[in-house]
Symmetry: C2
Subunit: 300 residues, 2 copies
């Protein structure tokens, strides 16, 4: 169950750069008017993120036998949605964070009103990109519409936003089941939408699509648990955010429910589940297997 | 250039009720979980609005020869977008309004964080509805994708949101041209998207679609000028908001640029332009003609 860190990080980096070149392109090389909002959108997106969601979109398409190039608008749309959610989460009325990945948050640079609008613009632009994917040759427009509906569902009031609402309500008596449900909504749903989007556009057969969907939830869990672990044991410089912030914010985490050793064990179990879900695939799913394994050794 | 107020208001009311029945349905009859966000979405949408944008969607479809029933998801999506923009505009970081149409604004009832998320959820849900329109019989899915792209453009950083950013920047030296541009972005673009959406789904021929597009901009202008006029001369009870708020907020308006008589004249000119743009249509466009005429006598 090992993954070569240096080798895998180089692979992640390569994909990240590919996606960032496309993000740059969609954000506009020239300066669209009005300048301020486009500058703020650029700031919010080109922020050193891991680009996990677009990587998942492209990887699922590749496994389905489609050229990853054919799903770049959709991949970037998922990143827009992730970035908008971070901009809004950081707002004073929400988590009130001044820094993200070591840089001042969007509202610290552009003000609160513009940050709200920047998030709105990224969310709106995301759906424009999803629809624009229909213009690429070989893409079935019926599949594009299915992707738009699934993304809207996953990112909406019964998905990611619903999770955020539950999190904000801040019920201090989360049961283990409620915590899982919270994270399924907050992060799992968008991971699922990313993988399914690439797979659907790549015409993956239903049975494999179901396997990938199950992988998405287990991967989301592994990712969230290791996020909680990093918050207590990570390196602030690498993380780009203060360590111990969950504790400071009195957040219920896997650590507060299961302790550090128990959380590490739970993360391992989730990764194991990821591998089981991928057992219907051959070597073509090795990147996704490694990505799951990598969550256990990631430092940021 | 007259319209029978009582008769036309009854017609508007009938359409409004039809749309509200569908909005209710899309918002969910049962109580979807999590309850809070769905309650807040309901509050933000079922707020006594005029439902102009969905009325425009359905009317354009009807003129194109399509059953208005076939575009109700799209019609309601446009209303979701309008409502989300109001929820975010009212936020303390934006216009900081406590009341809208005589009721406490969303953030006064549900708190700022939930109001931000409510807007986000309506915007996300809007695109889900636009895509869902493809499921209705007789609708060409290629047209649905075009509508999604046009709506994303009109509501996005180069459309409605761009206008909001310019407005917030609050340049006190707006030229008449800059004020027109501001309102084209802030309100005209979404009116245009509404009319074009219905027309595109109804397979209206290009030349007529262009005429309708020009009508949309002139109608937006007439609507905005009469909005400014109502702000100085309207009845607070009917408007549901304080009269004189533009002046209080030191906003540049048509009144401050052209005075009241000059603004009334400009509104008349815009309505005249609306009628000219509709000259390629016969009696089937009479409702849109009356709608333009009605802006001059509306009281709310």
């Amino acid at each position: 169950m090992n993954v070569d860190r240096a080798h895998f990080e180089a692979e992640l980096d390569q994909r990240k750069h590919f996606i960032e070149a496309h993000l740059q392109r969609y954000l506009g090389g020239e300066t669209p008017r009005p300048g301020l909002i486009h500058e703020a959108m650029h700031y919010a997106v080109m922020n050193g993120g891991k680009r996990l969601r677009p990587i998942l979109v492209m990887e699922a398409a590749r496994i389905a036998g489609e050229e990853p190039d054919k799903v770049t608008p959709t991949a970037c749309a998922l990143e827009y949605i992730h970035c908008y959610s971070l901009v809004h989460d950081d707002l004073p009325a929400m988590d009130d964070d001044d820094f993200r990945r070591g840089k001042p948050t969007c509202h610290k640079v552009y003000g609160e009103a513009n940050a709200i609008l920047t998030g709105d613009a990224l969310l709106t632009g995301a759906f424009g990109l999803l629809a624009a994917n229909s213009e690429l040759e070989g893409i079935d427009i019926k599949d594009v519409l299915q992707v738009i509906q699934e993304v809207a569902q996953a990112a909406g009031s019964r998905g990611m936003i619903g999770g955020q609402v539950i999190d904000l309500a801040g019920d201090a008596c989360f049961s283990p089941a409620a915590l899982s449900e919270l994270h399924r909504l907050k992060t799992g749903e968008l991971f699922k939408a990313a993988l399914r989007a690439g797979a659907i556009l790549g015409k993956m057969k239903n049975q494999d699509l179901e396997a990938l969907t199950r992988y998405a939830y287990s991967f989301g869990l592994a990712f969230q648990i290791t996020d909680d672990i990093l918050d207590v044991s990570g390196d602030q410089t690498l993380l780009g955010k203060p360590v111990g912030s969950d504790d400071k914010n009195a957040r219920i985490t896997y650590i507060s429910l299961y302790g550090l050793p128990g959380s590490i064990e739970k993360a391992r179990q989730s990764v194991q589940e990821c591998l089981v879900h991928l057992s219907c695939f051959g070597p073509e799913a090795e990147f996704l297997r490694n990505l799951a394994r990598y969550t256990l050794i990631r430092t940021f």
